[in-house]
Amino acid sequence: MKLITAIIKPFKLEDVRNALTKADIKGMTVSEVQGYGRQSGHTEVYRGAEYQTSFVPKLKIEVVVSDEAALDIIDEIVAAAKTDKIGDGKVWVVNVEELVRVRTNERGNDAL
């Protein structure tokens, strides 16, 4: 199995989730993260003290998929998350050696 991690723009979550659901993915895990990259943050000023926030809010989606499905899923995510603008994010893939569904103790692809 593969763990696909996608860093996306928050307002693209709905699109990505729809794409994954269509691709028959039943579960995923999302967290709120701060991204640093080409896209700039904003400036804040408090009584004349000026702060530059270099970080931009992003969502991180983690989804474990079967080896076979991985490549397609990546494409789906990329297509759904794309806005063609800087800051669109990254997707990366890591090999998963074992997966367990806690409830049933099922292992491997059965646990998906």
Binding site: Q34, R38, Q39, H42, A49, E50, Q52, T83, K85, G87
Partner: protein, 450 residues
């Protein structure tokens, strides 16, 4: 002159209470918007206090309560501009209605009404109003809309007052007026990007409830203070205010329950405000049974009315129409039924007074609603064409707090994700690529659904 210190004490206290309502409103509204827009909302309300306070003492008080200009009951003269002639009685308050408080106290008390009325409008236009043009709007609107309507209804020399229309504490002047204006401006600027499909839940419901408490508390000054003294009439206004508010709170959450859902705290807060609105014109004219019915009706009707905007496709973001316009009309008209001379004013339909009071109320409602709607629409349109009334789409996406005011409302986690870049500056852009503007094109392409 010799004034009654007890009456004066109560109206000074009431004035402070009413001033406290506008921040209350700011929190009531501010809790309802998303966290990226809360400062934008607070800012609009606080700056309204700033602007109207100045405009009032230097101009609009005189327009509203000055000697009638030409005798048609349309507008006051400039006699009291800059608080001059404060040793003269307020025109029209004579005989049994003679004021027992210093005229300056009356100026102060009425000022607070002039402040909160335009502040109410900010609920309709939440999340998308440009700051500078909003400031201009408030100034112009206070002069061209608030002052005349206050003169018509509140000043004993105004034409609606003389006609016999009753408005104890501002059902027409404040709520119908602000409601109509809110709808007009919302119409001019259009709906929020993504509305109604994108979720826009309140970001801080406790703030909404805090705001509601501040409003309820301050409203005792608003309504019971409108008796302009500490007496049986103010006591009646006080108890009616509380009773109607309580009934409306219960009415609203009952509707939620009956519709098959759950009673919500936002519903309770909204119901309370609806009740406060509806009893405002009536509190000095009805008895406690009347107040209970008016409150209950307001809770129920407004709870149903807030869904109308989805059908109309009019993004009255925080329901100024559904609560203040509808609630204000309800209260103003029900005086026509429940008004009783045992409390104050004249008898309504149910107390043997015939339909004439109801008719006068209807005239006042139609006159102030139409004038306010039309004028507000025109003013908003002109400002929109000249200065632009709406923020850019990328600012709307980013949120008003950082985009317009260079601030974040909350920082509960690590403040270390920021870097200090200098003191005394004014928010200059970073040297990295800022592509929010481009992002928004995509956002638009996607049909405004994100």
């Amino acid at each position: 002159m010799h004034y009654n210190t007890g009456d004066t004490a109560w109206i000074l206290a009431s004035s402070a209470l009413v001033l406290f309502m506008t921040p209350g409103l700011a929190f009531f509204y501010g809790g309802m918007v998303r966290s990226k827009n809360v400062l934008g909302m607070l800012m609009q309300n606080y700056v309204t206090i700033g602007i109207v306070s100045i405009v009032w003492v230097f101009l609009t008080y005189s327009l509203a309560f000055g000697t009638d200009w030409g005798g048609n009951g349309i507008i006051g003269t400039l006699h009291f501009v800059g608080l001059s002639h404060m040793n003269q009685a307020v025109p029209g308050y004579t005989g049994a209605g003679a004021q027992t408080i210093p005229p300056l106290v009356f100026v102060i008390f009425q000022m607070m009404f002039a402040v909160i009325t335009p502040a109410l409008i900010t609920g309709s236009t939440a999340d998308r109003l440009k700051f500078g043009p909003f400031v201009v709007f408030v100034i112009v609107w206070s002069i061209l809309v608030y002052a005349p309507i206050a003169h018509w209804v509140f000043s004993p020399t105004g034409w609606l007052f003389k006609l016999g229309a009753e408005d104890f504490a501002g059902g027409t002047v404040v709520h119908i007026n602000a409601g109509a204006a809110g709808l007009a401006v919302a119409l001019v600027i259009g709906k929020r990007r993504g509305w109604p499909k994108e979720p826009m839940p309140p970001h801080n419901v406790p703030f909404v409830l805090l705001g509601a408490a501040m409003l309820w508390f301050g409203w005792f000054g608003f309504n019971a203070g409108s008796a302009l003294g500490a007496n049986v009439l103010s006591a009646n206004a006080f108890v009616n205010t509380n009773t109607a508010t309580a009934a409306a709170l219960l009415g609203w959450i009952l509707v939620e329950k009956i519709k098959g859902g759950k009673s919500t705290t936002l519903g309770a807060a909204s119901g309370a405000v609806a009740g406060l609105v509806a009893i405002t014109p009536a509190c000095g004219y009805v008895n406690v049974e009347g107040a209970t019915v008016i409150g209950l009706a307001a809770g129920i009707v407004c709870a149903l009315a807030v869904s109308l905007k989805f059908k109309l496709g009019l993004d009255d973001a925080l329901d100024v129409g559904g609560v203040h316009f509808v609630g204000g009309i309800l209260g103003a008209l029900l005086i026509g039924l429940f008004g009783t001379s045992t409390i104050g004013g004249v008898n309504g339909l149910l107390y043997g007074g015939g339909a004439s009071l109801l008719f006068h109320q209807a005239v006042a409602v139609v006159a102030s609603a139409s004038y306010s709607f039309v004028m507000s629409y025109i003013i908003a349109k002109i400002i929109d064409k000249t200065m632009g009334l709406r923020i850019k789409d990328d600012e709307e996406l980013e949120g008003m707090d950082t985009a317009l005011h260079a601030e974040s409302a909350y920082e509960f986690g690590s403040s270390l994700l920021r870097g200090f870049s200098g003191a005394g500056g004014g928010g200059h852009v970073s040297n990295r690529v800022d592509l929010n503007e481009e992002i928004v094109e995509v956002y638009k392409k996607a049909g405004e659904i994100n």
